[in-house]
């Protein structure tokens, strides 16, 4: 399984201190909670303090000879996109409170369903809106509301976006 290979690489980076922590997000996280559905890339929320750490992460893979294309780093044949925590407090919270999981004997973390909904409300593409509707029945409504309230701002009114998704049902 290619995913296990990627997770082993990420766990190795954590042990070496290149990254502080990480969690699986995006389509793979949606696959964790819902039925299997196609996704091209693996989104990894990565706990980093600064853009210098982000550059160091890319340099690490470049030096290792990993193919880097557009925003993706190919790890074990899987295009991986790293979303650094320093650009959004929502990412930091999602990593900190992520669920511990084991995949094929390898330990990892996947973002909680409530954070995943919030992250989809940020990206807010048509396919994200469909996933939000599918994930909502699995979410703790109080926790979701707390997360949306804490991390929304004028540019990304998360609760208003959720109401819009629900209104279009």
């Amino acid at each position: 399984m290619a995913l296990v290979g990627v997770l082993e690489v990420l766990n190795g980076l954590k042990r070496k201190g290149v990254i502080r922590d990480y969690a699986i997000g995006g389509g793979y996280a949606a696959n964790y909670y819902l039925e299997p559905s196609y996704t091209y890339d693996l989104d990894i929320l990565v706990f980093l303090d600064s853009d210098a750490d982000y550059h160091a992460l890319y340099k690490h893979f470049r030096d290792k000879g990993n193919k880097i294309e557009n925003v993706y780093i190919a790890i074990d044949g899987t295009p991986v996109q790293f979303l650094p925590s320093y650009i959004s407090p929502l990412f930091t919270d999602a990593i900190k409170r992520a669920r511990r999981i084991t995949v094929g004997g390898t330990h990892s973390k996947v973002v909680r369903v409530e954070h995943l909904i919030a992250l989809f409300l940020v990206s807010f593409r048509p396919k994200d809106k469909i996933r939000i509707l599918e994930l909502l029945p699995l979410a703790d409504k109080h926790l979701l509301d707390e997360i949306l309230k804490r991390f929304e701002d004028e540019k990304t009114p998360l609760r208003q976006r959720l109401r819009r998704v629900l209104a279009n049902l």
Binding site: M1, N31, L34, P36, I101, V103, V110
Partner: protein
């Protein structure tokens, strides 16, 4: 399937169809994550094959 074949009209057909589809989705959602990832990776391999074969056709 039997239920679908017994549907008397379009409304009944779609009602049974949607119920069965939701039941299947719920079953698939309960699969272990590793099994879901194996299915997903098969989809990705199929999509890559399709992309490369369409690219070859375009070049011809």
């Amino acid at each position: 399937m039997k239920k679908l074949l017994c549907a008397k009209d379009s409304e009944e057909f779609w009602q049974i169809f949607n119920e069965e589809r939701e039941k299947r989705r719920r079953q698939l959602a309960k699969l272990p994550f590793a099994r879901k990832v194996a299915i997903l990776e098969q989809m990705q391999a199929d999509a890559a094959l399709l992309r490369s074969s369409s690219a070859r056709k375009r070049r011809r």
